[in-house]
Symmetry: D2
Subunit: 324 residues, 4 copies
């Protein structure tokens, strides 16, 4: 692969804390190698419409502690169409861009795999609070989101303990229950509902609450991942089956934003630097990932089938033991 | 009034951060005067059923930074019935309790006024995040709730700015728009909807958003107090009238909980100490209040008609100017 | 006074959270009236050297939640010299600036009073974490600093309770003990040392600690304002006189920074808007202040002798009672 | 190994956030197996003096979000003496305690290795903010401390940027520079000083600052681990060699306390449960550890020589690249 002189960087999919740290590290590392960086706005949409801004050190120096993404983002429908990917690739060539660094989640990776067919060199960085890019144990934004959810539930608990009732809290996570698992464990939830483990009915929750009620407890906390059901239906069921007064909280978009934690700033920085390192080594079409808590990288097409990220681990067994 | 030797303290209505500081100060101040303190559980319900715990210095020493209330709370339906208030008063006499300190909101004050007719000496402390005890400029819990709402909306903003859309955030406040006003001002909202000022339609919001859209803005924030409408209806209206993609967030119960801010711990402590000071002076049936940022107290029956707390101030005019 | 068409705004003295909200409100309010705003960098130094930036809505739209000041600041030695104030005044006239809004503390106000003699129209806004601008009950930044100190001390307490020892924490406040008072009260300190009340010796602290030790306590917290003494000397004295193992913490500059609380964003916004309102009314050479928790303003020369801000209030008496 | 019926749990060495989650998980997991738990106070000192409290579910149910340790701690000098370890072992036998779970740092592990010679079955959990238990990649408390340091430095930065000067911040870490590395990376420090990498002089810092000054920067941030030097000396050197005004901050004990982050609550819970699992399997004299981000365990005597935790990794190289 020929020498890299100019790259484009973009953020795509749901915004995630730590994306700015990755962008910053990409710019600093590229700068160290004399590589020019172009910031693409609004993810893949910006490649199609060629909406860009120059990115120098001063543009990114102090963005480490900012939530959201300075490059904005989108879930591009048009990029699913080969016609638009072709346009995007033409734009890159027209502007002498040698490679693209794309920070995003599963949808971003899938888009990258197709984009590769246009002859584009693209390096992906997994960034999504859902932690559902299967080839990576960790994705940028998860730690911040888990802490945000935990802190919000700590406050909700204060209120349900004071009033002696049940709080049913819905957290983000359509396919993966990581946020529900961590936030539920961290706030001593009485029951946690995960997509990966849900067998279709809520009997175990009803039974757990009944048992605690019998043991003399009078406040309860249930954390449910949005992919299973919405908190409202579950609260109604609980109130109907046990008589326990239940209140609903849907944490919503607070889970996407906020100043990133130390882990997301650190891992965002490391992943961004690593992406440039991959390009410096003359490699391409890779996705940066975490495996065994170490930075690694995979071919983006092969990465789709890797599963370094799942809940069937010893750790999960233990956490279920604790949650009972 | 004869010398006070034993008092009961309770927290009632919605829980509010700072209630624990008030309880703590009541116990410490009473202890300084050799007055015994009984903690009543679950507000007025605990007076009816005489559910109590002894409260010594060690029980309250470190509760200053705890959200919720260590005495639990309730919205007592039974206390609305004179029969049960009579029972409660009998319980107090049977246990030689000379006075009651009740920390709560508007409903708690109204219950206290009726309770006075049973010959009970009761001193109230205004504690509710809604800031709607009319005789007092400030009520315990408001500062913490305003900051909690502000921080949550800061995070939601990160996401709507990244995605270029409108966030409609619903905050607590059925009759009063204080939380909406402070949180909306603090997060640079494009429009704030307050019960006190809402004239029945949302045209001004639609117009404000259209104007900003025309000015080149592409992300928007609307903060609405729950007493006006729910955020879902408003978001649908915005999307329908302007085409701007809108997402809903209902902050919910996080606004009730969490570690209290410095103001709520400080004012909670001052109000608790002041309640005991009132009793020491041989006075009773008063409500502690804040007027001109100074501690004052009023006769509880007269207090209902006082309005030291309203939005028609110069400050509110200015804030509306800024919000446009 | 002739119509205001262009103003300059600056921040001076120690930086304080909320300064950005005031700058933002100045720009928005001025913009509403068609007044052009010039941002002066680094306080009075920027007036002398005429270092400025234009300030439009987009420059300040999102700075509400930022600590520090986007206009930077300084403690200008040169401004004490009439020669340089003369230069500064000439710069203002040369650039058609009709009035100056200066946000800062006591030193900034004193500089403004002298600057007035150069024929400059200057409106001051009290901004300093020390809360020591005597004519105002409140100064921007205090609430955030008090909360920052409180949260830091909460963490320090965890450690001294775990180890069973005494923590002596030094907080900011050379002449005023507000931060020490609020942070000490909010964290249940065993003793608080304030400049306003210190009589020259620490016997009362030694006695308080000895008494608690006798009562069976084994961890202690002392909060001291830097203006009295440094925490190291006090810790040594405690260890020498009581044998209690003592550790020192100097909170330092964390107290100046951080995202502002809701109060500092709100009051910063109100004060900034009010400053422009004063100019719009054709008045000048005023300082915005808070009295009875209401916005007021005073002639800057007279303001120096006003004392709306002192600790000899009923509230302070009560807080001392609680601290014993 | 015979069946475990009763265990003792203690926390020892510097307190660390997450210790309470580990204690809680030990109690819950033991309870699930019908094992009785005795809480030993103040670490190894409590074993020597047999100062204990019973630990049931209600004692630990809600301690997940509390900093410090409910069992208190100490750095026991007496435990270094075999005579006292012998006494401690006798106490355990006299009270039918089958095994001990000890949560602490390197000193605690070394004490455990010696204690094993008294015929005691002891399982260790690595808990210390310094992350210097060599056999484990991670130790409880590090994530919280790194985030606390990061947040404090973010605030300090606001002030040094506003004033245009250099902040030299000293963080904890006598032998290990992890907190300095993470906090420095997360706050975009201009230079980071680590014990593992320091070669005896500060030229590289002076040069880095001079270069940035030449590039037009006027505020700087240096983060130094306490094990290298104290921030005061470094600040003096910087001011002397470069003329740049420098201010010192020593973060101190705030780094030990505070509510634990999600990682420390989760890993504390997992490690506590795993310790009981080890005992249930009939194994003993082990230390729980993290390797490749998975829970593992090692023989405590062998663990001393393992090095799963060091900075000479690819990740560290990358982070140094970024810090330049």
């Amino acid at each position: 692969m020929s020498e890299i002189k100019k790259i484009a960087v973009l953020t795509s999919g749901g915004d995630a804390p730590g994306m700015n740290s990755a962008v910053r590290a990409v710019v600093f590392s590229a700068n160290n190698l004399g590589i020019e960086v172009v910031g693409v706005l609004r993810g893949y949409e910006g490649l199609i419409d060629w909406e860009t801004i120059p990115l120098g050190l001063d543009d990114v120096r102090n963005i480490n502690n900012q939530g959201g993404t300075i490059l904005f983002t989108s879930r591009s429908e048009r990029f699913l169409d080969q016609k638009y990917r072709h346009t995007a690739a033409k734009n890159l060539r027209a502007h002498d861009v040698d490679a693209v660094v794309a920070i995003g989640g599963d949808g971003t990776l899938r888009g990258a795999i197709k984009f590769k067919d246009e002859g584009v060199n693209i390096v992906c960085i997994p960034g999504t609070i859902d932690r559902d890019v299967a080839c990576s144990e960790y994705t940028l934004g998860f730690d911040t989101a888990a802490n945000t959810a935990m802190e919000a539930i700590d406050k909700i608990r204060d209120s349900s303990v004071s009033h002696g009732r049940c709080s049913v809290v819905e957290v983000m996570g359509r396919k993966r229950g990581y946020i529900a698992l961590w936030a539920g464990m961290a706030t001593s939830a009485d029951a946690i509902v995960l997509p990966e483990k849900w067998d279709g009915n809520f009997d175990y929750i009803i039974n757990a609450l009944r048992k605690r009620h019998t043991d003399g407890r009078n406040s309860y906390l249930v954390v449910v991942a949005e992919g299973v059901t919405d908190a409202g239906k579950l609260a109604d069921l609980i109130q109907k089956e046990t008589g326990i007064e239940s209140r609903v909280s849907v944490l919503g978009y607070i889970q996407r934003g906020g100043q990133p934690t130390a882990k997301d700033r650190m891992y965002g920085s490391l992943m961004g630097a690593y992406a440039i390192e991959i390009l410096r080594q003359g490699r391409g079409n890779r996705i940066v990932a975490i495996k065994n808590d170490i930075l690694v990288d995979y071919d983006i097409a092969e990465a789709i089938d890797l599963h370094n990220n799942n809940l069937d681990s010893f750790q999960y067994q233990l956490s279920l033991m604790l949650a009972e």
